[in-house]
Symmetry: C2
Subunit: 276 residues, 2 copies
């Protein structure tokens, strides 16, 4: 039986690409129109795994997604980096000068806005998903609309790429996390990264103290993000990612941080992926 | 002559409310449909000041806005917190059961989605600005569409609030920064907060070392956010906000951090605002 993978967006989206890269071809996709829907599929057991974008090298973290994982007690069991390529695509036979509107996800539009400065006649319209517009263009045979989407969407929905790689910053990677309801316990020697959440008081130096402990335990910080705790003013939650060479370093840090910080939670322990 | 203030969105938006709160009634608003446009107005001198949302207690930081300020060498000269109230509004005489679509900014829709779970017949549609839909409803006399917008928009565009305060989390504050092209040098005794950006190497403990110095200089960290430096793998930029009691503490920290970190930049020194 194929693995059931819940993704944000539809077939041909970047999340679909990650599903293929991470799990191979023998998968059944559950297309979700929101990140919440991914979590719902995991909680009710209709999906085995979920894939969720968590940060982008240009736009930064998607904080609400960290909170979704934390509040629903979902486990991060892996990560994957995808280099993002934005391609402008339209029905076969349509040229750039025929295009009146370009529809895509707000983030994709933002990352390609320099390209469109030369085409002021083209109206940019926000849509919910990159691939969804590609599908809509095919189904409606929409001649004057182009989509910004991954190459995979052009293949799936029989569109032509009329301008490849139109993103302003070429070095654009998005990090995705792989999610599961129950924790998948990996052999300790395969684990070299962890995602943590903890709370500290608004007291001078309290974060520095925690980071000193991490450093003393040979953990490398790869990401840190503060977020006010909404219900309690002057408390801060931190989402932190760390890498380490030996699991025992991390074990020791966990024991210390569990005592030193409040509400210490391991969101996931997994294998560090390569940023290609 | 009135102060010319560039805001994101149109009259009746949360940015408009902040402009009134911070600068009073005698202002001329420059309505912008993107954050970039605010920066453009400051750079070409058509606006005296700009107002930009920078973080929200639910969604976290708006990282691209930090980068806009940094890359364009704009100065942060103040901050303001606004408690966000989402109100559902429609033409007079229209009731909740008449509504077929609700249009608003994606963030407003996200923050109110629990409310709409009881009204599955209502379609949620993303728009660029909260107040803009309110204006469109008035101008087009659109009977079956409601907007989620601040109360000010209902007053300006003659709409009725058919459901007040529909946000799920009631304690929802957004922090705005006040921007100027040239730095506004405040008297030192009025300055007790600063926004900084610096880079550290991906070396174990390098951030902890910087935070130790800040703590030794009696600076309180109120926000920290890491962001990969896109052009150089394994380097991280940090956006940090600190508060302090005495400007001389900060002067000392500046001197040390300028030596210890790379590309140390003060984005602004200003007066800490109250989170009401």
């Amino acid at each position: 039986m194929s693995l059931k993978i819940a993704i944000q967006g539809i077939k041909g989206s970047n999340h679909h690409q990650v599903a293929k890269d991470f799990f191979g071809e023998d998968i059944e996709l559950l297309e979700c129109l929101s990140f919440d829907a991914i979590i719902d599929h995991l909680l009710d057991g209709t999906a085995d795994k979920g894939i969720m974008a968590i940060e982008n090298s240009i736009a930064g973290s998607i904080i609400p997604n960290y909170n979704l994982v934390y509040h629903n007690k979902i486990h991060i069991i892996g990560e994957h980096y995808l280099s993002i390529h934005h391609n402008l695509m339209a029905l076969p036979g349509i040229a750039l000068q025929d295009i009146k509107e370009v529809h895509s996800h707000p983030m994709a539009l933002l990352q390609c806005k320099e390209f469109f400065k030369d085409y002021p006649q083209i109206k940019l319209v926000e849509s919910v998903d990159t691939a969804e517009t590609a599908k809509r263009i095919k189904e409606g045979q929409l001649a004057n609309i182009a989509a910004i989407a991954p190459k995979m969407a052009a293949d799936l929905y029989d569109l032509n790429i009329i301008a490849p790689e139109i993103q302003t910053i070429k070095n654009n990677a998005t990090r995705f996390i792989i999610l599961k309801k129950q924790n998948k316990v990996l052999p300790k020697e395969e684990i070299n990264k962890a995602s943590l959440r903890f709370i500290t008081d608004h007291k001078r130096g309290s974060l520095a103290t925690v980071l000193n402990v991490m450093s003393d335990c040979n953990l490398n910080l790869t990401k840190i993000q503060s977020l006010p705790v909404i219900e309690t003013p002057w408390k801060y939650a931190f989402f932190v990612d760390v890498t380490f060479d030996e699991y025992e370093y991390f074990s020791k840090a966990k024991a210390l941080l569990g005592i030193m910080s409040e509400d210490f939670t391991v969101l996931g322990e997994y294998k560090n992926a390569l940023l290609l």
